[in-house]
C-alpha cells in the first residue's frame, strides 16, 4: 500500500511540475488575421511591430494569432478565442451572418480592391477566354480576391471553371503565385497587394510571371470585433488604425500592405452578398 501511495505522490508532483512547464494563460486581447500570406511562427514574428503598436494603443498585452485557414478564423470569433480579427470580404459576410461581428476599419484601398490574373511570361494565355482547357489555381476557398471575384469574372467571360478548367485551392495568395511561377498550374488569380509586395520583396520573379487580366474593383478586407467586446475597447482598436500615418508608421503600414485606414460599415458588402449567394458560396 505504501508503494502505491508513493506512486500517487510522485504522479501528483510530476503533474504540478509539468503544469508550470506548459504554462498558464494570460489575460490578453486576442487578435486574429486570416492567413492571406501564410500562418507560421515566422509570419507571426514578422508582424511583431504590429503587435507592439496595438499593445501600446490598447494598453494591454496582445496575442497575435494567424489560424491556418479562413474558416477557422471565423469560428474562432464565434467561440471566443479571438476578440478582433482581420477578415476578407466573403469571410466577413459569413462571420456577420453567423456571429454578428462588428465591422470597424479597413484600408481605403479595400473599397476599390482588384484581383490579378497571372500566368507564366511565355504562356499563350492573354485573356480570360484563353483559359479554356487549362489548369488554374485559386487561393483559399473563402478568399474574395483569390476565389469569389475571379470565379465570377471567369463565368461572366464564358469560362465557367467547373466546365472548362481543372482547378485547385492552394490555400493562400503566395502559394498561387508560386504555383504559377513554377509551372505547376497554367494560371491563377490572387490579391493585388500580395502580388505587388511579393515582387517588391523579391519573392516572385517578374521575368517569369505576367498579369494578363485585372478584375473590376470590389470591396474586400475589413477588421472586425466580436460583438461581446466592450464598445470602449472596440473604439480604441478602430482609432489605433485610423491614427496610422504614412511616413510616420511605415513599418506597421507595410505589414498591413496599406496607406491609410477608414471606418467600415456593413452596407458596403451588399453586392458581395448577392454575388456569393449566386455562386453558392454563401
Amino acid at each position: 500500500m505504501l508503494k502505491n501511495h508513493r506512486t500517487v505522490v510522485a504522479f501528483i508532483s510530476l503533474f504540478l511540475l509539468f503544469q508550470v512547464a506548459v504554462g498558464a494563460d494570460t489575460v490578453a486581447v486576442n487578435v486574429g488575421m486570416v492567413p492571406d500570406a501564410g500562418a507560421t511562427q515566422v509570419s507571426i514574428k514578422e508582424k511583431a511591430p504590429l503587435k507592439a503598436y496595438l499593445e501600446q494603443k490598447l494598453g494591454r498585452p496582445v496575442n497575435l494569432i494567424i489560424p491556418t485557414n479562413y474558416n477557422a478564423t471565423v469560428e474562432a470569433l464565434g467561440n471566443g478565442s479571438l476578440d478582433f480579427a482581420y477578415l476578407g470580404g466573403l469571410t466577413y459576410i459569413k462571420a456577420h451572418a453567423r456571429y454578428n461581428v462588428v465591422p470597424l476599419v479597413q484600408r481605403s484601398s479595400d473599397l476599390q480592391f482588384r484581383a490579378y490574373f497571372i500566368t507564366s511570361s511565355n504562356s499563350s494565355i492573354h485573356s480570360l477566354a484563353d483559359l479554356k482547357g487549362k489548369t488554374f489555381a485559386f487561393g483559399d476557398i473563402n478568399s474574395t480576391s483569390g476565389h469569389v471575384m475571379p470565379y465570377l469574372e471567369m463565368r461572366q467571360a464564358g469560362v465557367d471553371p467547373n466546365t472548362y478548367l481543372k482547378y485547385r485551392y492552394t490555400g493562400s495568395h503566395p502559394a498561387t503565385a508560386k504555383a504559377v511561377e513554377s509551372g505547376a498550374v497554367d494560371a491563377g488569380a490572387l490579391d493585388e497587394t500580395v502580388y505587388q509586395s511579393m515582387i517588391a520583396e523579391g519573392k516572385l520573379d517578374p521575368n517569369k510571371v505576367r498579369i494578363f487580366y485585372k478584375s473590376k474593383p470590389f470591396v474586400d478586407y475589413v477588421w472586425v470585433a466580436r460583438k461581446e467586446v466592450d464598445p470602449a475597447t472596440q473604439e480604441k482598436f478602430a482609432q489605433a488604425f485610423t491614427d496610422l500615418k504614412e511616413g510616420q508608421d511605415e513599418e506597421v503600414l507595410n505589414i498591413l500592405r496599406g496607406k491609410n485606414f477608414v471606418r467600415a460599415n456593413n452596407e458596403e458588402y451588399t453586392v458581395l452578398r448577392l454575388v456569393a449567394a449566386d455562386l453558392k458560396m454563401f
Binding site: 504522479f11 474558416n71 485547385r168 513554377s182 505547376a184
Partner: protein, 463 residues
C-alpha cells in the same frame, strides 16, 4: 502535368533546409505542442479506453452496444475527426487533443476489449466462484492478467499517436503540422524541409523512447504525468464547449444538395482510384525493395541502405507526402496515388522483407543442396513460401489505404476528402456531415469485404 524539368526545379527549392539556430528554436514550441497533443490525448484515451474495455470484458449491461460504438468510431479517420473538432472547439491544440482522444479511446477500447476476451477463462471462473461481482472480476482478474500486453499495445499506439498529431495539424489543429502547412502555403520550402526533418527526428525519438519504456515501465509514470498536465492545459474551455454544442446543432441533419449528389459517384470513384492505385504502386515498388532489404537474400551492402530508404519513406505520413507532391505533381487524384504509394512502399517493403526472412529454413536448404543459384532459390523457394503472409500484408495495407484515400483529398487531391474539406471551409456543415457519413460507410464496407476475403483465402489474421 508540368514538365519533369519544372518539377525538378521545384524539388530543388526544398534544399538546403533552413538549419539556422533561431529558426529551429522558434519551431521547438510547435514541436513541443505536437508532443503535448499526443501525450495529452493518449493519457485520456488510455483511461477512457481501459474503462470501456473493462466494462466490455466484464460483460456488464450495455457492453455489446458499447463494443459496436467503438467499432463504429474507429472507422472515422483521425483527420476527419480533427476537422469536426476544429469546427466545434476552434483552431489550435484543443481541437487536436479532442480529436485524438476520441479516436484513440475507441481504438484502445476495442483492442483492450479484444485482449480481455482472450484472457484465461479458468482464472476468471475461479474469481467468479468466490462470489466476486463482475466489476471486481474486471479489476482484480482481467487487469492483472493482461497488464503486460496492455503496456505493449499502449506503446505502439503512442507512436502512432505522434504521427497522427502531426497530421491533425494540417487542418489547423495545432502543432508542427500546422506550421508545415503554413510554410508550404508561404512557399517557404527550405523551412518546410527543416520541419519534415524535425518531425522524422521526433518520430524516431518516440520509437526509441517506446523501446525504453517497454523495458522500464516505471518511466510510464513520467509520461502519464506529462500527459495529464498537457491534457489539463489543452482541454477546451467551458465557454467553447457551450458554443460547440450550438455549432453541432447546425450540422444535423446531414444534407446534400442536388449538384453534390450528382458529383458523388465521381468522388467515390476517385477515392477508390487513389486507394487501389496507391496500393498497386506500393506493391510494385515494395516487391524489389523488399527482396533487396531481405537479409537472407541480399548482401549487407544492399540490404542496409535499402532498409534506411524504406524507413525514410514510411516515416513521412501520407498527408505530408501529399503536401509536398501537390506543388510538384500539380492537381487531381494522381497526387493522392503518389502520396499513398510512397508511404505504403516503405511500409510494405519492410513487411515483405520480414516475410521473406521468416520463411522456414528447411525447404530453402533443400533447394540450396541441389546446387541452385541464389536467384533460383529466391524465386522457387523463398518467394512461394512467403507468398501467403505477403498477401495478408497487402490486404491489410489496402484496408489502411482506403482510410488514407478518404483523407488525402483534403490537401487538394480531390476525392471525397476534398469535397468534405471544401464543404467545411465554406461553412456548409450539414453537407460536411453527409460526407463524414459517406466516408464512414465506405470504410465500414471495405473493412467488412476485407475480412470476408481473408476468410475466403483462409489466411489467418494473427500474422
Amino acid at each position: 502535368m508540368p514538365g519533369l524539368e519544372s518539377a525538378l526545379s521545384l524539388l530543388r527549392q526544398f534544399f538546403p533546409p533552413d538549419l539556422s539556430f533561431s529558426y529551429i528554436r522558434a519551431e521547438t514550441a510547435p514541436l513541443f505542442e505536437t508532443l503535448e497533443i499526443a501525450a495529452g490525448a493518449m493519457f485520456l484515451a488510455l483511461i477512457i479506453g481501459l474503462l470501456f474495455s473493462l466494462i466490455i470484458g466484464a460483460r456488464l449491461p450495455g457492453s455489446r452496444a458499447l463494443y459496436g460504438l467503438l467499432t463504429t468510431f474507429r472507422s472515422i479517420p483521425d483527420l476527419t475527426l480533427a476537422i469536426l473538432c476544429v469546427v466545434l472547439v476552434g483552431l489550435g491544440p484543443s481541437a487536436g487533443t479532442l480529436a485524438l482522444t476520441l479516436f484513440y479511446s475507441a481504438a484502445m477500447g476495442k483492442i483492450f476489449a479484444d485482449l480481455f476476451s482472450s484472457a484465461d477463462p479458468g482464472a476468471i471462473e475461479a474469481l467468479h466462484a468466490t462470489g466476486a461481482t463482475r466489476s471486481m472480476i474486471a479489476f482484480y482478474g482481467l487487469l492483472p492478467l493482461r497488464l503486460k500486453d496492455l503496456l505493449t499495445y499502449g506503446g505502439y499506439e503512442f507512436e502512432s499517436a505522434i504521427r497522427a498529431s502531426v497530421i491533425v495539424g494540417a487542418v489547423g489543429a495545432g502543432g508542427i503540422g500546422t506550421e508545415l502547412v503554413g510554410s508550404l502555403n508561404m512557399t517557404d520550402y527550405h523551412r518546410a524541409t527543416t520541419l519534415i526533418i524535425m518531425l522524422v527526428a521526433l518520430i524516431a525519438a518516440v520509437d526509441f523512447l517506446g523501446f525504453y519504456v517497454r523495458r522500464q515501465p516505471k518511466l510510464l509514470l513520467v509520461l502519464a504525468a506529462f500527459g495529464a498536465a498537457a491534457a489539463w492545459h489543452h482541454w477546451p474551455h467551458l465557454m467553447v464547449v457551450t458554443q460547440a454544442l450550438k455549432t453541432f446543432r447546425t450540422m444535423v441533419p446531414p444534407q446534400l444538395p442536388a449538384e453534390a449528389v450528382r458529383e458523388l459517384p465521381t468522388l467515390i470513384g476517385q477515392t477508390l482510384l487513389i486507394a487501389i492505385g496507391g496500393t498497386l504502386m506500393a506493391v510494385i515498388c515494395a516487391l524489389p525493395l523488399g527482396v533487396a532489404a531481405a537479409r537472407n537474400i541480399s548482401p549487407l551492402f544492399i540490404s542496409f541502405p535499402v532498409r534506411r530508404l524504406l524507413e525514410a519513406l514510411r516515416a513521412v505520413p501520407e498527408i505530408v507526402w501529399g503536401l509536398i507532391l501537390i506543388g510538384i505533381a500539380g492537381l487531381g487524384p494522381k497526387v493522392g496515388i503518389l502520396a499513398l504509394g510512397l508511404h505504403s512502399a516503405g511500409a510494405l517493403g519492410k513487411l515483405y522483407a520480414e516475410s521473406l526472412e521468416n520463411v522456414a529454413a528447411e525447404p530453402v536448404m533443400a533447394m540450396a543442396s541441389t546446387g541452385g543459384s541464389t536467384l533460383s532459390i529466391a524465386g522457387f523457394a523463398v518467394l512461394p513460401l512467403a507468398f501467403a503472409p505477403m498477401t495478408v500484408h497487402t490486404l491489410f495495407r489496402f484496408e489502411w489505404n482506403m482510410r488514407a484515400a478518404t483523407i488525402v483529398g483534403m490537401i487538394g487531391a480531390g476525392a471525397i476528402g476534398g469535397a468534405l474539406f471544401n464543404a467545411q471551409q465554406l461553412f456548409f456543415y450539414r453537407q460536411m456531415m453527409a460526407y463524414v457519413l459517406i466516408t464512414w460507410a465506405m470504410i465500414m464496407i471495405t473493412d467488412a469485404a476485407n475480412v470476408r476475403l481473408r476468410k475466403y483465402w483462409r489466411v489467418s489474421e494473427e500474422l
